[in-house]
């Protein structure tokens, strides 16, 4: 039994929290996508980083909204 599954057995209330842990895998891809997309729209480092930051925040907010809608649908079902 892996440490995570042992923890989930001992504390079933933590299971939703453990599911959120997999969201950390989104971080590298959000950073990479926002940087590459921003760099295809600007030529200089300053505007690229500024655009990447705004785009990254936009992606995170979008993901949070989708997660909120899915959680709401689950609670209503």
């Amino acid at each position: 039994m892996t440490p995570i599954s042992l923890l989930a057995t001992m504390f079933p209330g933590l299971i939703p929290l453990l599911a959120v842990v997999s969201l950390w895998y989104a971080v590298p891809i959000v950073v990479s996508v926002s940087l590459v997309c921003a760099a295809t729209r600007h030529e200089q480092l300053g505007p690229i980083l500024h655009h990447a930051l705004r785009f990254g925040i936009w992606i995170v907010v979008f993901m949070a909204v989708v997660m909120g809608v899915l959680t709401l649908m689950e609670s209503l079902a």
């Binding site: 039994m1 892996t2 997999s22 895998y25 590298p28 891809i29 950073v31 990479s32 996508v33 940087l35 590459v36 997309c37 760099a39 295809t40 729209r41 600007h42 030529e43 200089q44 480092l45 505007p47 690229i48 500024h50 655009h51």
Partner: protein, 198 residues
């Protein structure tokens, strides 16, 4: 030599805010950008962006390959039940992903695989699998074994490598045509007011 002019300040159409980029041999740069992400930009002298693309695109691809245990990048084979469409996207990364085509060809021709089976398609024969608890099971084919053993990292690795390939398509377009400038409707209206058509 092709040149393109872009506004350096966001939303500004003033000519004093514009910068000119020299796009040396766009088609060759696009080919280099496909072969190695960022190489087309480095060839054109746009070194900073080239290095950024190299790190981001190849980093994403290699991390996905690592997450998927080196199994998530393979070309579709005729005997697979589900067509592996993802490999078309993964091919966008360029030379790094092309070993999968060699491995697919060797497997179809029943020749021994190269590079210790890296990027080889799954075999279509029953295989034994052992989970973390030591339980033995028989899977119908190698893809089923990978999916069971690596879940959810098989899917995560696939997503990472597919996105890396698609990002490199943007990089190729940038190498060939320069940055994509989106002109906003308000700017166009402003331009029309300032410079009415004669």
């Amino acid at each position: 030599m092709v040149t393109t002019t872009i506004p350096v300040a966001e939303g500004s159409a003033a000519s004093e805010d514009a910068i000119t980029i020299e796009l040396k041999q766009p088609w060759l740069a696009a080919l280099l950008a496909w072969a190695v992400p960022g190489l087309g930009h480095i060839y054109q002298g746009r070194t900073g962006k080239g290095l950024l693309f190299f790190v981001c695109v190849l980093g994403t691809f290699l991390y996905g390959l690592y997450l998927g245990g080196g199994k998530v990048v393979y070309a579709a084979v005729p005997w697979e039940q589900q067509y592996r469409w993802q490999y078309w996207c993964q091919l966008g990364v360029g030379l790094t992903s092309t070993p999968m085509l060699v491995q697919r060809q060797r497997m179809v021709e029943e020749k021994p695989l190269l590079w210790n089976g890296l990027m080889a398609p799954p075999r279509n024969e029953p295989v034994h699998s052992e989970d973390y608890s030591g339980n033995l099971s028989t899977q119908p084919n190698e893809l089923a074994k990978w999916t069971v053993e690596l879940h959810p990292y098989f899917e995560l690795g696939t997503v990472y490598t597919v996105i890396a390939g698609l990002l490199n398509v943007l990089v190729i377009c940038d190498a060939a045509g320069g940055p994509l400038i989106i002109s906003h409707g308000s700017d166009k209206k402003k331009d029309k007011k300032e410079n009415p058509p004669s």
